[in-house]
């Protein structure tokens, strides 16, 4: 009875919170409309919401734009796939031994602190201006957080559990599958999530700096030719895509681990 009441109360409160959040976003949209409608801001800086929506529907019906989306999507998928496979394999191998962990962890952590965008021009030179350079760059940048998370996830499996498993079986594969991997998954998932964000941003950044196609190119091109409405429309598409994948990924994490 009393638990039901608290449940109702907390539900009502979360509805209220959602309402305030929605109101806040509507307020921002209203502000955007008002500021542009009364001409407080230059159209070059902030085009009106109507013009952005118009450009958005224009973009979405053009096959050129879908080609750009396709290039960016396939680049991200390939880069992320490379990063995850390499990161999980190397990280889990290093994480097996405390000594290897102590040796390699600071090296990888130090490398991740370097803004790797400074080597992008070189990758561009080696791999050409096509999608390959973005894939390589995204994969290198996304590899580090996966490897770091994987090595610390495997290194942090309590020694007690390993010993307990060893008393039950000598089958190392069984121990890995039933004990080590399940124990490592929560920490690994957060690394996979960071890696996705980093890979996504790297691919888009690469396309913005130098590319013939891709969503990043659409944004930077329209900024250069002063078509702010179209630029904002392309930004909206990227943001919508990022938010979609982000919410899908947070669904993968167990409830207690969610941010």
């Amino acid at each position: 009875m009393s638990t039901q009441a608290t449940k109702d109360q907390s539900q009502a409160r979360s509805h209220f919170d959602r309402g305030v959040q929605l109101g806040f976003i509507l307020l921002l949209l209203g502000l955007w409309y008002a500021v542009t409608a009364f001409g407080y801001v230059s159209k070059l800086l902030l085009p009106s919401p109507q013009s952005v929506v118009q450009e958005l529907s224009g973009l979405l019906t053009k096959s050129d734009f879908w080609f750009d989306v396709w290039i960016t999507l396939t680049s991200i998928i390939q880069a992320y796939g490379l990063a995850v496979v390499a990161g999980v394999v190397l990280g889990s191998l290093i994480g097996q031994s405390k000594f290897a962990y102590d040796v390699f962890q600071p090296i990888f952590a130090g490398a991740f602190a370097i803004p790797l965008i400074i080597i992008y021009p070189m990758i561009l030179y080696l791999a050409g201006i096509g999608p390959l350079s973005k894939i390589l760059f995204g994969a290198i940048y996304g590899f580090l957080p996966v490897a770091l998370a994987a090595m610390s996830a495997f290194a942090n499996v309590p020694a007690k559990w390993r010993r307990y498993a060893a008393t039950l079986t000598t089958n190392q594969w069984l121990v890995t599958r039933r004990v080590l991997i399940p124990a490592a998954i929560p920490e690994l998932l957060s690394g996979l999530r960071i890696s996705y964000v980093v890979t996504f941003a790297s691919v888009i950044a690469g396309e913005m700096i130098a590319a013939f196609a891709g969503l990043g190119r659409v944004i930077s091109y329209n900024a250069e030719v002063l078509e702010p409405a179209r630029m904002y429309a392309a930004i909206m598409v990227v943001i919508a895509f990022a938010a979609l994948v982000n919410s899908l990924m947070s669904r993968l994490q167990p409830r207690s681990e969610r941010a």
């Binding site: 370097i114 400074i118 944004i219 943001i239 938010a243």
Partner: protein, 253 residues
């Protein structure tokens, strides 16, 4: 040899092996080594690179922009984090909005920053702040959440008759300090990334301009010299902030 010495020895060995592999690889490529020079050539060219007053100016400008952006990130990030998390009612409403904004790949709005703040230092500093502010804010938020999660310490302090300031310095801050310091360290790396991204995108006489210039003119030794300097600076700054994090950690509850 003690264990830490062994770890350090192996770590140096791994780094030496990597550099050796680069050296050997560059010599094997041979003719194309203009763009992929061996590390020895890069190091030999460093003094000449640093003697170029324009490069020197670019590096100093970058450091200045980085420090300004980092200071602003700490200030605004702490204010934002405190404003979001100080009251639980407000936190429940605003935190999802902050996380939503944080999940946007910020590189997409870089052209907007350039349009707003111009081609000079302004857009680089602003873009650095936009990258650096969130780790700090989230660190402060999770610090406040942690100190709120253990009310038992506060009740314990109350039972001993602690004053408000005593509770703040002995109970609340020590519980928050770990997450805040992690936020500061992450923020340093992201601020540097933000400043460099803007620098590469706009490239007017900054470090980004020289990176592009040396690539375009195939001056491999110069390009790698600059990359090595920046990478070393990033690693040194990161380990310095990491050391500060461990030092502050002793204060942790």
């Amino acid at each position: 040899m003690t264990y830490p010495q062994k770890v350090w020895a192996c770590r140096l060995l791994v780094c030496a092996a990597l550099i050796g592999a680069l050296e050997a690889g560059a010599h094997m490529i041979g003719a194309a080594s203009d763009l992929l020079p061996p590390p020895s050539v890069v190091v030999a060219d460093l003094p000449a690179l640093l003697a170029d007053p324009k490069v020197e100016l670019a590096i100093f400008t970058l450091i200045k922009q980085l420090l300004i952006a980092f200071a602003c990130s700490i200030l605004f990030g702490a204010l934002l984090g405190y404003g979001v998390a100080a009251w639980q009612r407000i936190e429940r409403i605003t935190l999802p909005i902050v996380l939503l904004v944080y999940s946007i790949p910020q590189i997409t709005v870089l052209p907007v920053f350039v349009l707003c703040f111009g081609l000079g230092s302004g857009s680089k500093i602003a873009f650095g702040i936009s990258h650096g502010i969130f780790p700090i804010a989230l660190g402060v938020i999770s610090g406040i959440q942690k100190s709120r999660a253990n009310p038992i310490y506060l009740r314990w302090a109350d039972s001993l008759g602690a004053s408000r300031s005593q509770k703040l310095t002995a109970i609340l801050l020590p519980q928050a300090v770990g997450s805040v310091c992690t936020g500061v360290r992450l923020s340093m790396a992201t601020t540097l990334l933000g400043v460099l991204l803007a620098d590469l995108y706009v490239s007017d006489n900054g470090v980004g301009y020289f990176i592009k210039f040396y690539t375009d003119t195939q001056q491999g030794p110069r390009l790698f010299g600059l990359v090595v300097i920046l990478a070393m600076a990033a690693v040194i700054i990161n380990s310095a902030v990491g050391r500060f994090e461990r030092y502050a950690g002793r204060w942790m509850l």
